[in-house]
């Protein structure tokens, strides 16, 4: 049995037949039915490469089907950097099975010994003699062939497509401005819906007086409890109608804590502790030669797709069809079925691409909005588009986090004890079948979203790969005032910011160089390799106190089981304005076997840029009455003017399993920046985002010993 077959993907137990995944078409193309959806990460291209490789087909002969609840396997959510590891392996085994079935079928049909049959360029050959195309063997194939996992995929040294930089399948349509997105779909007789929602966070509808209100083009004003939506013939009529309707509504304000002091407020709301790693740090801490403790914080942050969420729904002949850019059409179908009290099989969900979502944004909510309005206007497709303000206020955020770490150094300068306590709200509030996870649902029933409780996302990467002696890791969960869910990397971003900043602080305390100090605490050879290569690429000079060069390093292996990433940042601080200018980021990644190196680089670069944005700019902020998040001025993100140079290096491991990498470059980013800032200036920043105001404030509060180290 091959190594790959040993990792038999569980999804193949649920969908064991080749035909669930692959279908040979009469024109010799092969249709592929993945359950994972395109989010801009390039998954369709990588999956096409895998199937084409195993089936000896030119890439052009692969058709990746759209993901629907009619035709596609239920692979849950497309999330967690899992698609290539799981769906990719499932398709690889399915394609290997089909390849061998085709060879057997040809041997049977042409009464030829199996070993003489070859597949090449999408054709069947006996020695060098052409026999037939794949489609001609259809009647000779077992229709219900099972994927055994016993057929070894092709050996990496025979790969022609895997490992090659491959052009994205979707790019031509996107640069030409074709209808690539759900937002672009125009169905016959389509009408336009908009939803009445408060313009401040969390407010509840108190009154809505529609006496004498005239709305041009109105087809339906639908009110169910506090869910209010309207449907108009034309889109701009719906926009104007919503403006008028909003003027007739009054709201009950939801009082929020003071955001200037949000973390202290959240600390008081802790309800559950999860011990991630047991340990007894206290006694060792007492005995340690040197001790250090620090607290780090990260703010609430938002997904802020480049465009608001959209959905189309059509209710016809007792069947509801929903076009959605959700990350999981099957979980969303279960949720909608429960919410609408309709059987699951009376709903069809069709995935269409949306603007990049980076996690659980408004996509699922707007699907429920469209579904409710479609049920009210049977026979017509209803398209609902949120406004930017609605997206910014009503999407679930990534929770604010607090990370407190204590550690000690032994006489040899190595860490002998480590005590990590994280505080976070949950990171998963995704819909999945409970019927209470979508905004329209609780507006309609007047209920509150039930707190989903602790889950792994909160302590993702809370543990590290370092040998830290007596280590204890605890994550405490608070029930915060804001709706929260999954944002790219979940808790790993904040946990790694704290862990990797603190490793730097400890290195300096030990009088060690930050790179050398990390290597002293690491056994994992692949982890060491990415750090060593990054240091070499950055021409890292060992230093045991701020060097003034503005170089900072950080490392993480995403989820501690996925891709390895080390990053080095070079930056300067403008001493007048206290603005950070990042000049360069070096990223080194080992993601196991690489399918599409250019696609992988694109993802790593994207995560790096988003990581910079979250470190320097992004922060959800409200006044006490929920005012504050109305447009892009209220939520700053990185723009073209401050984009640094990014160099990305890949370590290919063709003989090793694929390691998910879609999120891997984001977690180390924040600490790499904070560490580089310290190296440049001697100023240690422990709160995100690292804004000029925070840096100035920090300078004012530095102790005398800390001030002595400042170089400005």
């Amino acid at each position: 049995m091959s190594d790959l077959a040993k990792h038999f993907p569980p999804i193949l137990t649920k969908y064991p037949l080749v035909k669930s995944w692959l279908k040979i078409n009469p024109d010799n193309t092969v249709s592929v039915f993945p359950g994972k959806v395109e989010l801009g990460q390039g998954i369709r291209t990588a999956l096409a490469q895998i199937v084409a490789e195993e089936l000896e087909l030119p890439l052009q002969q692969i058709c990746i089907s759209e993901v629907t609840t009619q035709d596609s396997p239920d692979e849950g959510y497309t999330a967690g950097s899992a698609s290539l590891e799981q769906s990719g392996l499932a398709l690889r085994l399915a394609a290997a099975q089909l390849r061998e079935s085709l060879r057997r079928a040809a041997a049977l049909r042409y009464e030829t010994p199996l070993e003489l049959i070859d597949l090449k360029d999408g054709k069947v050959w006996q020695n060098e003699t052409f026999l037939c195309g794949y489609a001609e063997l259809k009647d000779w194939l077992e229709p219900d062939e099972t994927i055994s996992g016993q057929i070894a995929p092709k050996s990496p040294n025979t790969h022609k497509l895997i490992g090659q930089a491959t052009q994205r399948l979707d790019i031509l349509a996107k640069v030409k401005g074709e209808a690539s997105f759900l937002h672009d779909i125009r169905l016959p007789e389509m009408v336009h819906g908009r939803i009445l929602r408060p313009t401040v966070y969390g407010a509840k509808l108190k009154s809505l007086d529609i006496t004498g209100l005239e709305l041009t083009g109105l087809i339906r004003l639908e009110r169910q409890g506090n869910f209010v939506g309207l449907v108009c013939q034309e889109e701009y009529q719906a926009v104007k109608a919503l403006e008028k309707l909003t003027q007739r509504a009054t709201w009950e304000t939801f009082e929020l804590p003071h955001f200037a002091n949000i973390h202290n407020h959240l600390r008081a709301l802790v309800t559950e502790d999860v011990v991630v790693k047991e340990g007894n740090p206290e006694a060792t801490l007492e005995r340690s030669e040197k001790r250090l403790e620090a607290s780090y914080t990260t703010p609430y942050q938002a997904h802020t797709s480049v465009a608001p969420s959209c959905a189309i729904a059509l209710f016809k002949d007792e069947h509801l069809t929903v076009w959605t850019h959700s990350q999981g059409i099957y979980p969303l179908r279960r949720e909608l079925a429960k919410l609408l009290n309709r059987p699951e099989d009376s709903l069809t969900l069709i995935h269409k691409e949306g603007p990049g979502c980076y996690g659980h944004n408004g996509a699922d909510d707007v699907a429920a909005d469209a579904a409710l309005l479609a049920l009210a206007v049977p026979g017509k497709p209803v398209r609902v588009l949120w406004s930017l303000e609605q997206e910014l206020q009503h999407e679930p955020y990534s929770p604010a986090m607090m990370l407190d770490i204590k550690a000690g150094l032994a006489a040899n300068g190595k860490v002998n004890v480590w005590d990590f306590t994280g505080l976070t709200d949950t990171h998963v509030g995704r819909p999945g079948g409970t019927g209470d996870r979508l905004r329209a649902g609780w507006e309609r029933s007047g209920t509150q979203l039930k707190w989903p409780g602790p889950s792994e996302g909160g302590y993702r990467n809370a543990e590290t790969l370092y040998n830290l002696g007596e280590a204890k890791v605890t994550t405490k969960f608070y029930q915060g005032p804001l709706r929260v869910s999954a944002l790219r990397t979940l808790g790993a971003f904040a946990n790694t910011f704290a862990n990797e900043s603190f490793m730097d602080e400890l290195a300096y305390l030990a009088g060690s160089d930050p790179v050398a100090f990390r290597l002293e605490h690491l056994d994992d050879r692949r982890a060491r390799a990415v750090i060593e290569i990054a240091a070499q690429k950055a021409n890292w000079q060992a230093h045991a106190s701020p060097s003034g060069q503005g170089l900072g390093i950080a490392f993480a292996r995403y989820k501690n089981v996925k891709a390895y990433v080390a990053q080095i940042v070079k930056l300067t601080l403008n001493s007048e304005t206290a603005e950070i200018q990042i000049e360069k980021v070096i990223t080194v990644c080992d993601a196991g076997q690489i399918i599409n190196p250019d696609g992988l680089k694109n993802q790593l670069e994207g995560g790096t840029v988003q990581g910079i944005s979250r470190t320097l700019y992004e922060e959800v902020h409200f006044d006490w009455d929920g005012d504050g998040m109305h447009d892009w001025d209220a939520y700053r993100v990185i723009g073209f003017e401050t984009i640094p140079e990014i160099e990305t290096f890949l370590i290919d491991q063709p003989a090793l399993p694929i390691l998910g990498a879609g999120e891997a470059s984001m977690p180390p980013m924040a600490a790499a920046i904070a560490n580089a800032l310290y190296d440049a200036t001697g100023i240690r920043m422990r709160d995100l985002p690292i804004t000029p105001e925070r840096i100035k404030k920090r300078l004012e509060t530095l102790s005398e010993t800390e001030l002595e180290k400042v170089i400005l």
């Binding site: 465009a307 588009l385 993100v637 990014i646």
Partner: protein, 154 residues
């Protein structure tokens, strides 16, 4: 009824005069290449060319375009820009790309060989949330170089 000159053709549209042009483009004319983003003139996704200059379709009343020459991504002559975006694989989700290509086209019309900083400045009001910025900058830089060279050779 308004008469518009768009992508070299004359079109008559029914929409009321003050309707933001984005709705006319995407719903009445079926030109969905111009993407709708923030609808507040902040993100640049809906950038079009009007008399050669970059304009936001979401904050432009349709009546103000009467008698002007409108170009959308579907009618863009500078296809070398699109070729460069493909060559650099300068897209992830790709939602911002059409508006960015139009902004770049407007830039190159007044400044055929811009430096990297000039490109960055021209794109300061175009948002990309996937972090494809460097590929986009490289694509525009390369497009301007190869194009200005090919023009010189002719």
């Amino acid at each position: 009824m308004l008469e518009l000159h768009i992508n070299g053709q004359t079109k008559r549209v029914q929409a009321e005069a003050e309707t933001p042009f984005i709705y006319v483009l995407r719903n009445e004319l079926g030109l969905v290449g111009t993407k709708q983003g923030c609808s507040l003139g902040q993100c640049g996704a809906c950038t079009i060319l009007v008399d050669g200059k970059a304009l936001r379709a979401c904050e432009t009343a349709t009546e103000t375009l009467s008698g002007k020459s409108i170009v959308t991504i579907e009618g863009l002559k500078e296809t070398f820009l699109q070729d460069a975006f493909i060559a650099e694989q300068a897209a992830q989700c790709g939602y911002c790309i059409s508006g960015i290509i139009m902004t770049a086209a407007a830039l190159l019309r007044t400044n055929p060989k811009p430096g990297k900083q000039e490109i960055k400045t021209a794109l300061k009001d175009n948002l990309c949330r996937c972090g494809t910025h460097n590929r986009i900058l490289k694509a525009i830089e390369k497009a301007s170089q190869t194009h200005s060279e090919s023009v010189r050779h002719v």
